[in-house]
Amino acid sequence: MAADPSVSQNEYGWTPDQPLIRLVDVHKAFGSLQVLRGVSLDVRKGEVICIIGPSGSGKSTLIRCINALIPVDSGTIRVEGQEVNDPDLDKLALRRKVGMVFQQYNLFPHRTALQNVMMAPVHVLKQNRKEVEVRARALMAKVRLQGKEDVYPGQLSGGQQQRVAIARSLAMRPDVMLFDEVTAALDPETVKEVLVTIRELAEEGMTCILVTHEMGFAREVADHVYFTDKGLIVEHGPPADFFANPKDERTKAFLGQVL
């Protein structure tokens, strides 16, 4: 492809008009268990994609491969042009681009909410503590947790903890956010407060990849929905299409059960 001089390239020759994340034929097995059997997908900048599917279909493994928490067996994963499936991968460079929020929040229990948000920018990026604190306080406000700065994670509700986890991830100023079933451990009432936070992020143009069981939410915020089963992407499309006219039998069966 001829380089367009008006678009700036990064060090990997990637330009913002190319997919921000590109997976090509990704395979992963745990022992004899094939978890990913050739997954390909593209995510463009500012897109929100939702990955749905039955338990054990490889959804969580898929997004864990994107930030190299799980090494893949074969295939290509490029994040802004950086090849993730590379033994000499610069993990820090990758992980400051890719934020991740987990099902079990996974806050650091020995640090206050504000400290949780501040830790990585100070320790990992070696940024100035004072500046990080200003940013962290703003992020706490953004996730509507003003006044909870000095509280320990164990004293917060699940929904509050999850919002701290989102703020903690945003403090690294990522280009893309991965959400791994972030509302699965919450009670129905608090699910909403977390989803509101994610929707705001999406509306601000943050690129998001969500593994979720919240079909209503997926239909509402996603630009593209992927359905996985047994390590393969069975079907994908814009949510309106996908939910109204599923084509594959497995998709129909799954949606029939959950909707």
């Binding site: 930030n67 928490l69 993990k91 820090l92 992980r95 400051r96 890719v98 934020g99 991740m100 987990f102 079990q104 996974n106 806050l107 650091f108 229990p109 020995h110 830790m119 990585a120 320790h123 990992v124 990026l125 320990y152 994670p153 164990g154 004293q155 917060l156 986890a165 903690r168 991830s169 690294m172």
Partner: protein, 252 residues
């Protein structure tokens, strides 16, 4: 002071309880210096052995097989052999092999003194246990918590320093407490290589004054008090480290 000394001399005359360490300045000085040596051995060995434990437990999780094998070998060696044998090995074994050096008085002496050997061997002995104690704490930290730190870009050392170790320490403190109490009591083995600690000086005192039962009782009381102080400090530390809403801290 004289009044106190007189009273203890009177106690000896009337009951036969001979506490020379109170009324006799020479014995008192000997005993206090022995006590000082015990405290010195304990504090230094506690610090070094705890550092060995923290570093060893980290090395146990190393991706390099040789490092893991080294740590495991160290733990097996020092946990499976009696501490007295270890002290003898260092002082009489290794100490003999190492070259001798001239001291200030022009005498040829061992390069490493008996006090230093005692600290080395006690630290390694307790350190081997501490490695296992820290490992138990590390294994109790959920894998997902370290995964979150990795996802934020922390290196293996960064994860250990900022997340794993602080949490593991809180979990393993009661076990660490136990081992350090044991270490304090094990300092009496330095007696065997003539380190003038509390037991050693007490033996000198009872040899001179023929007050064996009295000094034995004094020893029991002294060690009970020393361990009591250590346990008090460790408990204070445990309370200081407790996290609101997490583990034991939640109950307080």
């Amino acid at each position: 002071m004289d009044l106190v000394a007189d009273w203890f001399r009177h106690l000896y005359d009337t009951t036969g309880i001979n506490l020379t360490i109170v009324y006799d300045p020479y014995d008192r000085q000997r005993f206090l210096s022995g006590l000082g040596m015990t405290i010195y051995l304990s504090v230094v060995s506690i610090i070094i052995s705890t550092i060995i434990g923290a570093i060893g437990a980290w090395a146990q999780g190393s991706p390099a097989r040789a490092i893991r094998a080294f740590v495991n070998g160290f733990v097996v060696l020092f946990r499976n052999t009696p501490p007295l044998v270890q002290i003898f090995f260092f002082y009489f074994g290794l100490g003999q092999i190492l070259p001798r050096v001239e001291n200030d008085d022009g005498m040829m002496v061992q390069m490493i003194s008996n006090v230093q050997w005692a600290i080395i061997s006690l630290s390694l002995f307790a350190g081997a246990y501490n490695v296992e104690i820290f490992r138990s704490g590390i294994e109790a930290v959920p894998r997902t918590t370290t995964e979150a730190a990795e996802a934020l870009g922390y290196t293996r050392l960064g994860v250990y320093r900022h997340v794993l170790l602080p949490l593991a320490l809180r979990i393993c403190l009661p076990a660490l407490n136990n081992n350090l109490v044991n270490l304090l009591k094990t300092t009496t083995l330095a007696y065997a290589i003539a380190v003038p600690e509390t037991l050693y000086v007490s033996k000198q005192i009872w040899n001179d004054s023929q007050n064996v039962p009295v000094m034995m009782t004094v020893l029991l009381i002294v060690y009970t008090a020393l361990v009591g102080i250590l346990v008090y400090i460790m408990n204070r530390w445990e309370r200081f480290l407790s996290i609101p809403g997490y583990g034991q801290g939640a109950a307080r």
